[in-house]
Amino acid sequence: MRKLLNTLYVTTPESYLLKDGENVVVRVDGEDRFRIPVHNLEGIVCFGYMGASPQLMRLCTDNNVGLSFLSPSGRFQARVSGKVKGNVHLRRTQYRIADDIGDSLNIAKCFMKGKVVNCRTVLGRGVRDHGDVIDCDKVRYADSLIIGNLLKVDDCINPDALRGIEGNCAKFYFSALDELILKQKDDFFISERNRRPPLDNMNALLSFLYTLLAHDVESALESVGLDPYVGFFHTDRPGRASLALDMMEELRPFLADRLALSMVNLRQISGNDFLKKENGGVIMTDDGKKEVLGAWQKRKQDKIVHPYLKEKISVGLVPYVQAMLMARFLRGDIDGYPPFFMN
């Protein structure tokens, strides 16, 4: 299995990234703040309005290092990608399947099952671990509604029906997720998912984590030679990485939602790490972001046994493994796409 390398997060707004030999150098006010050999990195994520030299971009593309630029609030803005790599036959197969409504619906169902099952696991774990302090009946009721929808996934005959099921499940799931927030109830609550802008602290935290996840999934898809922009469930739209969004569905509960919950419950993040703006939107402060980035990086280094491969990998490699399995499925090496079911 491939080794998980590190990701460099640049949050100082006035920094400039440049290449020196084989090094990535972060320069602030003409002074070199940080340098690291490029072969230690998997990706570079920049927040804010920093610049990067063209030579650095070249260095990144040559070494398969993902270079992304996000707005200070964590919204994706741009990424630098090199030559299109991988196998043209694989990509053609991907496009053919994406064009076929029936085939892509079948794959979309896999994603959706993965997502719903993983959502249920998050809820089930909450009941098991904290059954004495939370309103178990409410969570179990939401769970039963989700099961009802899960059973209907296989009968869907068109993508719109599947979207309906997704919407229902998400509604029940997020309403129950509020119960699993055990500490700091005044600052963190979630009644429904909202974004652009997120309207409360918990939604802001989730949005930020999803952006980080999207960056990783997109790089993973690209590294196995798939086109992240052609999805099976999300429709094509310029500038939208639809396949990355598809694949995120099943990974969100395990990689992002649970991290958000434990950060709140362990008081790793507090209400002071968020700012409310005039338009009602909530953004995270720089300190808050650093805290989340730290927790995210740490989480990625945890080891799990992948349920399908039965191999010990870092959590950060899960998107890569799923992308690889997707490529194998499209090539016809395996009969179906196995979604990631966490345990």
Partner: protein
């Protein structure tokens, strides 16, 4: 694996100074400078072979010396630091 690279290059002649600069430059490409002629490099075996090959090509074995210390995967338990110029952990959290 983590490899500690240390060197001593004789700078008595003009050629020695040139070799010193070249060795330092090559080491910077592969790792972190922790002290003046001491580098910590996190490498895979292929990268290490490349580094070793190029460094051995630069030095003059009559006058200079080069040492590699293999700290392996659990290198964090084997390194202690005191004083100024604390380095970063290439496997840790990198935020600037």
């Amino acid at each position: 694996m983590m490899v500690l690279v240390t060197y001593d290059v004789s700078t008595e002649s003009e050629g020695g100074k040139r070799r010193l600069r070249k060795v330092a430059k090559e080491c910077v490409n592969y790792g972190q400078r922790v002290q003046n002629s001491v580098f910590e490099c996190l490498l895979d075996p292929a990268q290490f072979a490349k580094l070793k090959h190029s460094l051995c090509g630069i030095i003059d074995e009559e006058k200079d010396s080069l040492r590699f210390y293999y700290l392996g995967k659990n290198w964090k338990n084997r390194v202690e630091h005191f004083g100024a110029k604390e380095g970063y952990d290439p496997e840790g959290i990198l935020i600037t």
